[in-house]
Structure formats: C-alpha cells, structure tokens
Amino acid sequence: MNDQRPVAIIIFIFLVGLVLLTKLFMIQVMDDSFMKRAERNAIQRVVDHPYRGLVYDRNGKLLVYNNPIFDLMIVPKEFEVGDTTRFLELFKISKEELIASYDAARKYSSVKPSTFIKQISTNEFARIQDFLIDYPGLFIMTRSVRSYPEPVAAHALGYIGEISSRQLERDSSDYYVQGDYVGLSGMERFYEDQLRGEKGVKYKMVNVRGVDKGPFKDGEYDTASVAGHNVNSSIDMDLQQYGEKLMMGKTGSVVAIEPKTGEILSMISAPFYDPNSLTGSDFGKNYTALNALETKPLFNRPIMATYPPGSIFKIVQSLIGLQEGILTPETTYACNRSLVACHNHPSPVNLFGAIRNSCNPYYHQAFRRIINQEVSSNTYKDTEIGLNAWREKVLKFGLGGELGVDMPNEKKGLVPNSAYYDHYYGNGRWKYSTIYSLSIGQGELLVTPLQMANLAAIFANKGYYYTPHLIRAIDGDKSKIPAEYQIKHEVGVDAHHFNMVQNAMAEALYGTAQRAIIKDIEVAGKTGTAQNPHGEDHSVFIAFAPKEDPKIAIAVYVENAGWGGRAAASTASLMIEKYLRDSISRPELEEYVIAGNFIY
C-alpha cells in the first residue's frame, strides 16, 4: 500500500480548511460592503416627528396648538375579533365595514400594520383605550394636526401642508423629505425654522417580510425628537376676534400696530376663513373650495392688496413740505376748484386747515412747489428731478417697497419715479400737470393696508417706525425675535413738524369722521376715499390713539364702502375703544358696522 496517500489526504483536509478560511477572510474582514448590505436589510430608519411649536397671542392666549388624532392600526395576521357584536358596538362600525376594512388591510399585507379606522377623536380614544388590550393585532398610532381654539387670524397665522417637490428641490437644509409638513403661508412659513423642531430617529429591526422586531441595539443609536420653539405672537386675540366680527360680510383689511414697537396687534383680511379648515386630511379639499370662491378668502389683503392711499397721503405731503421748508403752518392757498374738485369748506386755508378739511386744491398747489423747485429751467426736466427727489422722501415712510413684515408674499405698492412716466408718456413729454393727482394720493400711487397702518404709526411716533411684525417673543424671550424688528427707522422729518399735523388729525375727526370720536379718548385720524373705477369707492381711515401717548395705530380699508368717514372710521374707532378700554360704549355704532354689508 502506498504510504504517501494518507499524507496526501491530510494535506487535502488542511487545504480545504485553508481555502474556506481564506474565502471567509475575504468576505468577512477584507470586504465591508456586506456589513452595509446587512444594515440595509434588517435595520429600518424611522423618523420621529417633533411636535411643532405652539403659537400664543400677546397675552399668552393659545392661538395654535397640536391636536392629537388617533388612527387605529391593524396587523391582520395577529387580529382576533372574539365577540363580534361587542367589537362592532365598541368601535361603532357595521359588520360590513369591519369585513371591508379587514380585507383591505389583508390585501396590503397580513403582517405589516395598516390603517383600520382613521382619525379617532380624543374622546373616542379615551372610550376605547382600555378595551384595546382585548384585541390582539390592533394598536393606536398617534398623529397630530394643527388646531385653533378660536377660528381667528387665519391669514396671519398661515397654514402648514405637505412639502411640494419644487420646495423640496430648492431646500438646502437637508431637513425635509417627501411627505413632510412645512409652513406654507403666514407665520407658519416665516417662522418655519423655529416652529419645526428637530426630528428624531429610531432604528428598528425588521425581518425579511418587514415585520417590526423591536429597537436596534436597545435604542442605543436612537435620538429623540425635539419639539419646536413656541412663538409668542404680537396679535391680541380678543382684538383680532372683535375686528373679525366687525368685518364680517365685508371685503377689506384692518391692521392695528403698537406704534412704539411695530408689533402688529391685529391683522384682518376679510373675508376670512376658519383656519381649522386647512388642517389634516381635509386640507386639499377645503383649499380647493376656498380657492374657487369669487371673494378670494385666501388672498391676504393687508399685505397683498394695493390701493391708492387717497387723502391720507396728504399728511405725508404736508410733512415733506414742512421738512423741505416749502410749507410752513402759515402757508395759505385758496381752495381753487378749477385746479381739482373739492368739497365745501372755508377758503383760503392754511396747512392746518388743509389737513383738517382735506383740501384738494391746497395740495395741488403745495405739491407743485415741492416738485417744481426750478432746479432746471426746462419744465419737463425740472419735474423729473423734482419727482425723483420727492420719491426718495416718500420711500422713507415705508412706501413703494416691502416693509419686511414677517409674512411671505408682501407686495411693494407703487410710488412712481420718472422712468415710470417716461415709459407711458415718453422722455420729456410729461410735466406737473400730468402727475398732479399724486398730490392727493390718487393717480399711480399704490399702497398696502399694512403700509397705511405703518403710516399711522409714524404719525403717532412723530417720525419713526419699527418694521411691523407679528412676532413678540420666541419661547417667551423677546430678544430672540429677528434683529430687523428691533431697528428704529427714521423717516427724515423732524419730530416738531408732527405736532401741528397731529393736532390737525385730531381736529379732522370733528369734520370728516365724527363717528370715530370716542368719549375721553383723544383720537387723531384721517379719512380717505380711494376712488374705485370698478364701483363704489373704497372707504379708508387711519388713526392713532390716545393722541398724547399713542398705544395703537390703525388702518382700515373697506372695499366698496363709500367714503372713509363711514365704514372705515367707525370700524377703526370701535377697534381703538376695544383695545384701550376692553369695552364698547357705543353699541349702536357696533350694530351699524356689523350690519354693513359691502360685498358686491
């Protein structure tokens, strides 16, 4: 017998061992791709969505919160119904519904959970909670939707919704994934970064069929979600609610600002909608319905609608004239109605009288002097230079550009420059007679209601403003609000020039807006009537009060409501009284305003 053969067999045994160990070394030690593939196989990354921050009003009243809703989930394979009658009673469904839901779930997967009953309310949940234990294969999954204790301030607060693919593409934060909710308008959008919180991640193990097999490494790598920051809005919920009551059935805007801080006390866009309708699963349906309405309730009028400012603009003209030294309180013009129409009042008037009586010819003449300062001997050229110089001064009042309120899609309004007229009339083919309607706030001028309210705040502050904003504090800390809302903007008109203007505004109430007078509260205001080529004029009113120590500045626009002294002044006056006194001394006025229906 050959003695080498046993040795050969032993060598073969060792060779086999060596080959196996080498191959094992290659896939286990040299190649780490199997490690990653194993993780992809069995470890599922589940995002733990944070609670979105809450929104409070300026007095700590809750405006927006998260309402938990409960979905009853089913794992068909584990599900046992036991006593069917009792089950049907407990969950308040019919036998047919039970069978249909069960079959649908089975069709999806018999081992993976799917929704069985959707959106169970908190009360319902409390009722069934204790009985769930009797039904294996059923469990509750909690979600939350944005909810509003009072259906107010829908436009200011905004809404959230699923992120669109376009937004997702543009997003550089790496935060969002398809299906995430994101602030789409109002404060929800502007303060998205503060409100959204931080996502947590849970790693769970799944088997080959996707069945949950518990946390990976006992949750060693899991991170908890961090709830979003709570936001304190500057909105006064009571005032907002009252304003919305007054604006019921009307189209227009109310913006009230605390002049000393720029904080927006209320911001109403009428017609409004219930913010609760744009939450949860009904979002799409309700959004489409609201969007289809002819009254455009989704249109955020205070920052997106632009109107001619009308007579209110005369105050800006007065202040520019005073600062320029072109006007003095004693400057007097005749109410020359051949220049522009006016209403009955004594003539001639000085500046005070012009404001008080809203004299159109006065401003026609005063504005000509502001524009045509005879810098150039060419009238056309001179007008152009004058217009552009004037425009710079107007822009300082926060007109003709976005103010920078903390909401998306703010409109600029329009304060035309020379190029604007060149475009329509040709270079050197227009002069003062072309543009004189600017003098009384008509013509091409366009402002937003927010800009008007800001004007009222400037008049109240005697020459400065803080960019209007809806934020008051973040997590109760006022210093955390964006820096741009803590900068004082000067309008370039000396404070003493405002004294006479303020007095004239206070007096004006007794002329054009007697309805705005409140007993024991000195209100300074100015009516305006914005011409509306499409129908009844828009009723405009701005005011601040109390005159000596202004706490509220307000602008009211009521579309198609006729002249400013009526709908707008009444509304503003009621709002002022409500804010300063928290009670209304003139129920009949309130009734009159509420009854007014100006929607055409």
């Binding site: 061992g17 094992l24 030690v29 593939r37 194993a38 196989n41």
Partner: protein, 424 residues
C-alpha cells in the same frame, strides 16, 4: 470478553471532545437562529428548535452509550444485513414516505420520522468495508473497481430517484477512501482535470478563450515531446475531444432541470438573479460577511435572526456562526473540523484490520464532504446543495446518522487491541 470490551481508557477522547464541542456550538447556534429578541424563549424551550435539538442530542448520547456497549464484532456482522435493510427502505420510501417540497425523503409514524438516505450512509460504509476487507480485493484491478462502485452506486441510484441530489453526491466522497485503498491515481488526475474544465467552461463566458487555451497547450505538448506520428495524432485527438467536450457541456447543462441550471449559473454570478435563485447565496454571504473579524456577538445577528437567510437552522447554520462570531468563530469551527478529520485519518491508519480502516476512511470521506461542501455553498464557492453541516445543523436524522457513523468507528478504534491483525 464483553466486560473488557468497554475500555474507557482506549476511547479516543480527543475525537469525542471535538464531537461534543461541535454539537454544543451547533446547539447554541440553532438557538441564535430562532432567537427573536421580542419573544424571550429559553434555549431549553421545547416549542422552538433549540429545545427539540436538545432532545435529539440527549437521544444521540443514548445511542452513543448503546454503540459503545455493543460487541465490536456486531457491526461487522451487521454490515451486509443493514445495507440490504436500508436499500429496501430506500425503495419503499417514495411509496410510503411523506412528501415535502416534491421530495419524499422521510418515512415513519406520526412525528417520528427518519430519512433513510441519511442512515444509508453508514450502512453503505459498513458494507463497503465488509466487501473490501478481503485480502484479495485489489482496487488497482478493473473488476474489483467495478464491484466496489456497484456497492456504492446502488443506494445512490435509489436516492437520486427520491430525488435528493445533495445526499446522493455525498456517496461520491467515498472516492477519498478508494484513493487510500489504492484506486489508481490517474483516475483522480483525470477527474480533477475534467472538473476544472467543466468549471472553466461554465465560468468563462466565451468558450473561444478556452478552446484557444486547449489548442495552445496541445501545441506545446506536441512541440516539447518526441514528434512521432502516433503521439501527434493522440494529442490532437485529445485536443479535439476536449473542445468537443467544452461545447457539449453547454448542451448538457441546457438539458438539466431549470433550477439546477440556475444554481450553477448563479454560482458564477450571484447578481444574475438577486431575488430569486441568487437570494440564498447573496443573503448567506451578507450574513457571514457582515460578521467581520469578531462577529456581532451572540444573539446579535440580524440577518439570520430575521429570516433573511433561508433554512438557517439546518443547511445554512454556518451563517449564524459567521454573523455572530465572525471570522474568528469560523476559524475555531473550521479548525475543529480539520483537527477531527486529521485525527480520524490517524486513527484509521492505526487500525489492525482492513475492515476498521476502510470504515474509518469512509467516516473521514463522508464528514469531509459535508464539511467542505456545506461551508463552501454558504460562502458562494459551490452551488447550493441541500446537505447539513455534521453535528451542527438542526435535525434528528442528521445528528443521529453522523453520531452513529462516528461512534461506530470510535468503538472499533477503542477495541482495536482485541482485534486480530488481519491486515492484508
């Protein structure tokens, strides 16, 4: 005589210890394979595989005691009757057995079932030993070769009919024993050459490369040797024969059942069908490969635990080991097998009669084949064939048959002093 027969001191304890080490590691791995983490069941829980395996282990120990207590001559005397008994069982299995996945492998009553194919291994080994022990038996002679193959092929044919290709293949491991017993080396060289050629032909996409290689090699062989016409004609004929073989292989493969074709093709490229036939190999490699050097830790494996690897407690049990104990764990188990096999060769060589030696080599052959092919298939070195890893895989038939196979030899070895030298 009977009392002296059980001589504890003569038992080869190294082999016994390795056996128990493998059984124990296997048992822990079976528990890991079914361990869920959510349902905390004890390793002793009879409702899960590890608990059942404990029963098989217990009964295997009882079998060991029976074997060790028996008269050593019993097995020699039983060799032929057992062989015939199992041949009969194999014949009747397809008619009375229980069908699982289109295979009828087991027979029995109620839940007690055995797979005759598993047990026929040691019966065949005994029969071969008995048949070949005569001094006149000479494997270098063709008529003896034919007779030995006949003994071997009889159960193989019956097992293939069941059909259980994997188990049938195991019988060819006896070629290792035949090698030791003097089957001419040229058969092995030829066989290995053919296997290499088959693998190359299947593995290399374009057969033209292989044909070119054959032409070049034949050309070189002709060029370096004597250039007699006979030699040139002979080599040219071999060359043409090889080329014909390469091309006929594709045809043969195309005639195989589709699942076997797929298994072969997937071996060369598991990504061909990652969710289908390639799934097993891919998932098995992921499980083992993700174990790294030291493994994920006992009961920490995710791939095997969550059913990504099919049949992980039986044929793919090595995945659990590879995933949870890594390369070092694999090294320990492979080292145990290599040591066991080497030890068995040494034991076989020290036997005093041919019967024991041939039987010993049969044990080496069968264990060798299972160990090599099972691990090779889990790491993608060999097509997936359903054969268990000895002592490791879950299941009564498998554990019992390997235990009987091994301990009959340990018994023979411990009794070798009593045996008369009958070496031929």
């Amino acid at each position: 005589m009977r009392e002296a027969d059980i001589n504890i001191n003569r038992v080869d304890w190294v082999t016994v210890l390795i056996y128990f080490a493998l059984v124990l590691i296997g048992w822990f791995n079976i528990y890991a394979a079914v361990y869920d983490g959510q349902v905390d069941k004890s390793i002793f829980d009879f409702s899960i595989n590890s608990g059942k395996q404990l029963v098989w282990i217990g009964t295997a120990i009882a079998l060991i005691i029976v074997i060790m207590a028996a008269d050593y001559r019993l097995f020699e005397n039983l060799a032929i009757p057992l062989y015939i008994f199992f041949l009969i069982l194999l014949v009747i299995t397809p008619f009375v057995g229980k069908e699982v996945n289109g295979q009828v492998l087991s027979i029995g009553v109620g839940s007690f079932r055995i797979q005759p194919g598993e047990f026929a291994k040691f019966a065949t080994a005994l029969a071969l030993a008995k048949f070949m022990e005569r001094p006149t038996f000479d494997l270098s002679k063709p008529n003896f070769q034919l007779r030995a193959f006949a003994v071997l092929l009889l159960p193989v044919v019956l097992i293939i009919l069941q059909p259980d290709t994997g188990t049938a293949m195991v019988y060819f491991s006896m070629l290792i024993m035949f090698y030791r017993e003097g089957l001419p080396q040229k058969y092995y060289i030829l066989g290995i050459g053919l296997i290499a050629l088959v693998l190359l032909a299947l593995g290399i996409e374009n057969n033209l490369y292989l044909v070119a290689a054959v032409v070049v090699i034949v050309g070189i062989l002709i060029a370096i040797g004597k250039k007699t016409p006979q030699r040139i004609i002979a080599f040219t004929a071999i060359g043409i024969g090889l080329i014909a073989f390469i091309y006929s292989l594709d045809f043969v493969v195309s005639k195989l059942p589709v699942h076997q074709q797929n298994r072969i093709m997937v071996l060369f490229n598991p990504d061909l069908d990652p969710l289908g036939v390639g799934w097993n190999v891919t998932q098995s490699k992921i499980a083992i490969g993700s174990g790294g050097l030291a493994g994920k830790g006992y009961l920490q494996g995710t791939q095997t635990k969550f059913d990504f690897v099919p049949e992980q407690h039986t044929d793919f049990i090595f995945c659990t080991l590879g995933e949870e104990f890594g390369w070092l764990g694999s090294l320990v188990v492979i080292a145990l097998f290599v040591t066991l096999l080497t030890r068995l060769v040494i034991m076989a060589e020290r036997q005093k009669n041919r019967f024991s030696r041939i039987y010993g080599y049969c044990v080496v052959s069968i264990l060798m084949f299972h160990f090599m092919i099972n691990i090779a298939m889990t790491i993608g070195l060999f097509p997936v064939v359903g054969i268990p890893l000895p002592f490791f895989s879950y299941g009564g038939s498998s554990l019992w048959s390997f235990t009987i196979l091994l301990f009959i030899f340990i018994k023979m070895d411990s009794s070798r002093a009593l045996q008369l030298g009958r070496m031929g």
